[in-house]
Symmetry: C2
Subunit: 469 residues, 2 copies
Amino acid sequence: MSIDLVTALRTIVGDGGVLDAAELGKRSAGTYRFDTLKAGALVRPSSTQQVSDILRWCHANGVSVVTHGGLTGLVHGADADPGEVILSLERMRAIEDIDPQQRTATVQAGVVLQTLQEEVDRHDLAFPLDLGARGSATLGGNAATNAGGNRVIRYGMTRDMILGLEVVLADGTVLSSLNTLIKNNAGYDLKQLFVGSEGTLGVITRLVLRLREKPLATNMALVGFDSFDAVAKFLKHIDRSLGGTLSAFEVMWQSFYRLVTTAPAKGRPPISQDHAYYVLVESQGADQELDTRRFNAAMEAAHEAGLVANAAIAQSEQDCRAFWALRDDVGQVLQGGMPVVFDISLPIAAMEGYADTLRTTLASEIGEHRLWIFGHLGDGNLHVVVQVKPMDYLALRPKIEALVYRPLAACNGSVSAEHGIGLEKKPYLCVSRSPAEIALMRTLKAALDPKGILNPGKIFDRHPAAGAD
Amino acid sequence: MSIDLVTALRTIVGDGGVLDAAELGKRSAGTYRFDTLKAGALVRPSSTQQVSDILRWCHANGVSVVTHGGLTGLVHGADADPGEVILSLERMRAIEDIDPQQRTATVQAGVVLQTLQEEVDRHDLAFPLDLGARGSATLGGNAATNAGGNRVIRYGMTRDMILGLEVVLADGTVLSSLNTLIKNNAGYDLKQLFVGSEGTLGVITRLVLRLREKPLATNMALVGFDSFDAVAKFLKHIDRSLGGTLSAFEVMWQSFYRLVTTAPAKGRPPISQDHAYYVLVESQGADQELDTRRFNAAMEAAHEAGLVANAAIAQSEQDCRAFWALRDDVGQVLQGGMPVVFDISLPIAAMEGYADTLRTTLASEIGEHRLWIFGHLGDGNLHVVVQVKPMDYLALRPKIEALVYRPLAACNGSVSAEHGIGLEKKPYLCVSRSPAEIALMRTLKAALDPKGILNPGKIFDRHPAAGAD
């Protein structure tokens, strides 16, 4: 099987375009992984036509295909089995066009996010998607997983930045839907199907992305609060006061703030470590002088209204970078134990109660552990990290998952805010989605990929009878 | 047939909930229509359960269902045949919840847009979708057609304002996907299927809508330009200078500006009628004093850069209303003839050439006519109106449609920016969509509505062989 596979793929893309199982064993399974890739072969097409030829052959021969971008996913959404083919977009890295008037970029799916950010910056434009994995995540992967990140409150998810897609369907059909228009109601908006479908409905090969004028001014503050109610009120206050320029609203519970502002972490606390909550607030505008006046006035009004316990306002770009570095120093959760990392969303009104309950249930059911909560509060998105002793990790992980996920059903929360489902969250999809919703997902899968060759078993099981969903 | 239909539906919703064909003959076919409704019956459910019961019965009996919102559509997307049932959401008009913290509204599909706008305003919030038909268009209809309107450049289309939907599928299944979260990547985002599907994939019964903090400051100007190039440059300049607060960028070609500023129109020209193009530019922010300084500085810089030929800056709310009244006085196109009205989108770089070509081809092929162009330039959306003598209308209309639509293919334009396809634009769908795209639309239709009972024949024909697409 494996030899036929490699030979067949080499006739499509040439010898150098295919790695066999042995060569795969030398490649890392991803940025956050300790193991190596597993699959029957890895194929690296250099054109949409080659992607189409590969899929046509795989479709005819019943071979499954797992598409790879930058391998920065966190939910085992790109794992492959020994009989499957990994289709990597690593040779399709061309930025084909940047149109400063239409404010669009047309790119191949393998372009790395940061590469595009830097290229559009040279045109005085911005692609506002931004996330920690910017240096290796690809735009095709961002689209396939509907990536979120730091500025969703202002610019939306990846979905909101995509104007057009070229997708190769399961049978090799090229669906070219490279729309460049903000408004296009000519029939169903097909690209929406593929955004966030985690490679299960088609292979994204090219994208048309919406660009923005580059922001010319930034303001930031790190704010301490003594109650969650004050945090929630401050969000409304600052969003309204900044009149459309609020670009980030990141929260850190006290334990996370202490973690990233205490050695061995490099960061130091800009304000006291004794507050219950900390918020990093950022605005992006056009005029540094006027924006600073507005920002400071809004902070002052919040202080006068008694919302804010303490605040440090960034006085320089260096201050801004230092504030972001605290929020981004997520690697500290690896100190002294093994972290179980979660990405959930829930209504703001439910957050405090959810966190309190979680603290209680973890204490009573898990024993020794550490809990950190932080995230994109403006979008309802929290990252929850529960750290346990390495030797307890495997045994405790399912128990911790249940404690984190189960209570989300009651408050209409989601088991995945921005990371997707992959294999990891599949058993918990039913917490956030009803049987009717999952049935319709299956209907779509069956309609677009009747043979089930595209990233099979991800999001939901291949056969309804086989799985927990 | 008709009697059985009426009787069966009355057992579901009660006697008063059903109008028969004779009663339908007394109801207008819509806001912009001169005829009356035609169908086998009109049924008015008052709950999702009733909608489900109706669809289950229709599905079992092979009866087609055409869903009605506010009947403000412009593409014959809600027309029904004598054997079909009209399902009107007019009894489902409850605003169920407004959550000022989560900034969401949960509404039944029959709620009128303006009703929601006014209600959220009382909570110091805004629902930023806005369009001329606000007083009768329903939110279910806005969603089903992915309505656009005046502030898309800032807030996006209706799609971008929808967080969750409850939809009844063709067989009566209730798909409850009433998500309130900005971030939710738990499997496919099913609501995207139904937004903009014009009632062909399901019946939207409830919506969760994203609200915004209410803007506290508005600035506006009416600006004259002597070249299209200057208009395009001004768009980039003002968008960047306003730092995220640009909320409308509406263009009027000279002939339209003259039409709405000359008697019998009520409006008078705020600036000379001799410029080639006029732009209405609006910003919405939070601080009137600072925003006005920024707005005026941006206008001054544009003037110094030689972009602007002439400008009137609004000094009061009354001025703002007067400027909008000019742009909105579309009814003037009814003066002295019959208008053929178009809603297209195309890249900004192609607009001037497109308009020039259209002027030339109309002059050589249509004979006596008037041409007006205006629209939401910031979104690439133009409305084109060609007025001819009433007696020539029917003969000339297909010819005019061909002249307007055909050239869009070469510039990647769309035959529908915001109005949808319905019946009217069906012959031209192929201008903007490839055979592969239309085939995938049919695949989705077959998967979700295998019996083809939902708004059949809209967007594309029932059977591939039967139509021009």
